[in-house]
Subunit: 287 residues, 2 copies
């Protein structure tokens, strides 16, 4: 594993950017050859303005079709105020959201840009990630203007069963049964929140918070508790899946469409570097 | 003017259908040659199921790009229970929303279908129509997942001025200054509600209710009060526009994108026929 770059190089400034996107028409966050991804759109826009190649680091590498209302990235860009790049650009940091949004399509918006505090690393300084998953059950019609971030389910779902089975998964566990296999990554995670409510539109909304998630984990968690709420399995079944006594089928992965990355938490500025160390130590032990 | 068909022909049943749509990709409600419209999509879907030509009548003929969450139509379809068409179809009325939604794209949804009460005419029995208009002011970013039914405005808008100027337009007036000219239609309308609030997302939302609206009237009303809230004109200016002492410029028509048809009210079943008479008498007097 490569060590993260902790500080911007001389002449560069590390900035934090908060983003929102509708993932419907993108192949996820991460750059891929010949695919339209959020990362490539954002980096192209930044490169147009800075006239410098840039590499963004993201808090949550969302899959194809997954949305975000509170994504966070960092990127090192030429420092306009000091050093060799100073005064070369016709823009300043305060202008950046407006200028980037003029370049980007309307399904990606830069919400905020600021100088990152020392030790800020969008991915490794993060304490926890917050996701939301929305379902319309009972085969009810999805209002057309609300259709992009909601997944349909044909039968009624019992919210008490959703909540009871979700609660059984809280805490630190090896979530391997809920993760697609990827070499060299830990699947031990701490699930801090997994709760369901019905919102004003009657949609079932799950709040799902963990220190980090592995690939397809949220959508598998949702699939598992829906199997319980749908009446297929008893509540205890999710515990059996967790302890790997039952293997969860791929058909239970819920679609990306209902999934939104809503928030990422960071420690106070003086704890940022310590948090990077903790994250990396944990990864190395288990890799 | 042709008289409305008050009752379904023998062997046919008049049904009321409640619809929602994202108007972004449609040239409005009304059928037009070589254009994709909501009406043609809905009628094609109905014709596929009923194997009979149908003519829908709508409560609010929304323009290109305008949305609906509570549109109402009526349509006379072959009666499956009685008469010559009975038992010919493999579906019944209760199935209709599900079957139509399987044919329609996801940006049009049939919410409800039922047998219309005697004297029901989606357009002429209506008492009043409710619209909503949403604006994001101060050049703030529009969240990508909420972008389809919100119009952007670059400067901050004062909500007190929006409400004060909107209130001056309430009541029965000749709204000709706010309507695009169309031969043979009255422009006398009763504006019952025109109020602004900020919602949880910080969007300005107008509730606009009248007995009926003429072409482009809502978007012109919004344009006029925005001119006041933006500081261009004093509050009293909207009264001058109304009394035609100032001609409102076309540039003040706000975009369709922010406009949604949310509700239509009908009288109790025993008042439906009387309401049709009132509507038609009024139209004839003034046409």
């Amino acid at each position: 594993m490569t060590e993260p770059t902790l500080f911007a190089e001389s002449g560069f400034l590390r900035i934090r950017m908060d983003l929102a996107y509708d993932g419907t028409n993108y192949s996820g966050w991460s750059k891929q050859p010949d695919r339209r991804t959020i990362q490539s759109e954002v980096e192209n826009a930044l490169q147009k303005l800075t006239r410098t190649p840039v590499d963004t680091i993201v808090a949550g590498r969302t899959d194809a079709g997954v949305h975000a209302t509170g994504q966070v990235i960092h990127v090192d860009i030429p420092d306009m105020e000091n050093g060799p790049y100073a005064k070369k650009a016709e823009w300043n940091l305060a202008d950046l959201p407006y200028r980037l949004n003029r370049i980007l399509d309307e399904d990606i918006r830069v919400l905020k840009v600021g100088v990152a505090p020392v030790g800020f690393h969008a991915r490794f300084s993060a304490l926890r990630r917050h996701y939301e998953y929305k379902i319309v059950d009972s085969n009810r019609s999805i209002l057309p203007l609300r259709r992009f971030d909601v997944a349909p389910w044909y039968r009624p779902l019992n919210i008490d069963l959703l909540n009871a089975s979700s609660a059984l998964l809280l805490g630190e566990h090896d979530f391997a049964a809920f993760c697609k296999f990827r070499a060299g990554g830990t699947t031990i995670r701490t699930l801090e929140t997994f709760e369901w409510q019905r919102n004003a539109d009657g949609h079932l909304v799950a709040k799902i918070v963990a220190d980090a998630f592995c690939y397809s984990m949220v959508r598998n968690l949702v699939g598992a508790v829906v199997c319980v709420a749908d009446g297929r399995f008893p509540i205890q079944w999710v515990k059996d899946v967790l302890s790997n006594r039952v293997r969860i089928s791929d058909s239970l992965v819920f679609p990306s469409r209902g999934l939104t990355f809503v928030q990422v938490d960071y420690p106070s500025d003086d704890q940022l570097l310590a948090r990077i160390e903790t994250t990396l130590r944990r990864r190395n032990e288990e890799d």
